[in-house]
Symmetry: C2
Subunit: 315 residues, 2 copies
Amino acid sequence: MFYIGVDIGGTSFKGGIVNSDGKLLFSFKFPVNKNNKPEETINQIVNAIKQLLKDNNFRKEDIVGVGIGAPGMVDSVNGVITFAGNLNWYDLPVKKLLEEGLNLPVRVTNDANAAALAEAKFGAGRKYNSFLMVTLGTGVGSGIVINGKLYEGNFGKGAEFGHSLLVMNGRECGCGRKGCLEAYASATALTKDIEKMMNMHPDSIMWDISKEHGLIDAKVAFIAAQRGDKYALDLVDAYVSHLSEGLLSYFNTFRPEAVILSGGVAEAGEYLISKIKDYCQKQLYGLKFAPPVDIVKAAIGYDSGKIGAAALFME
Amino acid sequence: MFYIGVDIGGTSFKGGIVNSDGKLLFSFKFPVNKNNKPEETINQIVNAIKQLLKDNNFRKEDIVGVGIGAPGMVDSVNGVITFAGNLNWYDLPVKKLLEEGLNLPVRVTNDANAAALAEAKFGAGRKYNSFLMVTLGTGVGSGIVINGKLYEGNFGKGAEFGHSLLVMNGRECGCGRKGCLEAYASATALTKDIEKMMNMHPDSIMWDISKEHGLIDAKVAFIAAQRGDKYALDLVDAYVSHLSEGLLSYFNTFRPEAVILSGGVAEAGEYLISKIKDYCQKQLYGLKFAPPVDIVKAAIGYDSGKIGAAALFME
């Protein structure tokens, strides 16, 4: 059997046909026109899926269902995108609209949840029953897998680990609260910290690296730190302590078997992960009596949103 | 059918026979002698249970199983008390020892988990699928119920919500970390804050109330605040903001349907709860798009540890 997975992003929507081994066979990608009404974008998605099936000689009967990963707050029980700020969508009944357009069953979840499900079924999460997936990108997204299943909270609106507290009365967060993890541990936050540090220290080699690299992003700090730049090391240490403290709260409360890191910052790989491990091992509640938590990098990259959305029908 | 529940505390162990409606029929209570070897205490528990059955004309065949709620870190999968600081117990195979002594099946969980299970089956949690129970006492204990079942984490060592971060690099916590919720929101922490505030302000009516009351405990601040004492009001407001920020992190990550509060501080009841509701409603991620989280007081009091332990066999 085959499955369709669609990943709706802030700038594009991507979709594809996925087989039961989690392999993406055929795919499409379109830019989102933010001037379009949401119903027009949904219509575009319907047409893109119909075209994809036609182009590759699939019949509707070959498809088990269409899974959707959407940004923002999703009511996965009713298949409604409650609120997607980047797209300016409110209370959009995506499941209903797509089912009418496609005459196929549709399920909807949050994009970070879809990525977590992809890792659970086909990636770094296969060996774990319960894990937390954290996406360190524009924001800090998260997906929770418990006993092999997505845990989506009441009305499917859970798993906003990025909006757990890190610093009471700390940095302003986009959500309106102060001191959320996202305000310290997103790639966006780290990039701002790098810019600030660079402006304070014209002698930092981060200047050279960002020139080589063509832009200032999270990578600049990790490369410079590995080359011994003390300012970059300070940035990395501060980043590690913030992210680790956030993770420890989750570890102590939930004792997952593992945390899986993805997104731009996770590209720093073993250098970052070994520092997080060091920090967490010293601070975990129960110390030597506590079961260890594995910290690993996501195994599926760019396609995880589509594959995970398709996997909503593989349970 | 009937069930036995035992609540092992730092100073006493209590047990009883519970029916399938969660009613405690007959019970015992003994002080824990800390000079005893753990095996001696286990032996005492075995004898107490045998006596309880005999005194009340129960046969072993009437009993489905013996549930144990124990303090500290418990490996509920293997029925081992990994570490109970107050009792000085390490890696004690409670399940094995009690099964040998009683010839009845035994299950073991953490005491806060047992209390959460009691609420789930027979108390304030009956109307919810998923909730967090928080005990505001000597420490901050917690139990997590997801889809009507206890969630105990990897090896059953989870649910230490009291050791989630509140203030990075903040107050020293008993667990060795800094800034844990427990260091701000336990009855112990609040009592220390009250003493400090009283010593700074001899004009506070908390002096009179603690004299009436015979001691300084959490209640002193709540009574004085309701009578308009500005120092007590400051204490209560600070306490509410700390506890609420801790709860918000959990709400945003897990979207439970409810949080159930128990323990000494929760005795402040609706006065405290309405303040927490106000704080959380203004700060919850997603604001009006977020499903509300009920905040309620535990319905079962003193016996919840025994009833919840017995309920380990009622699934």
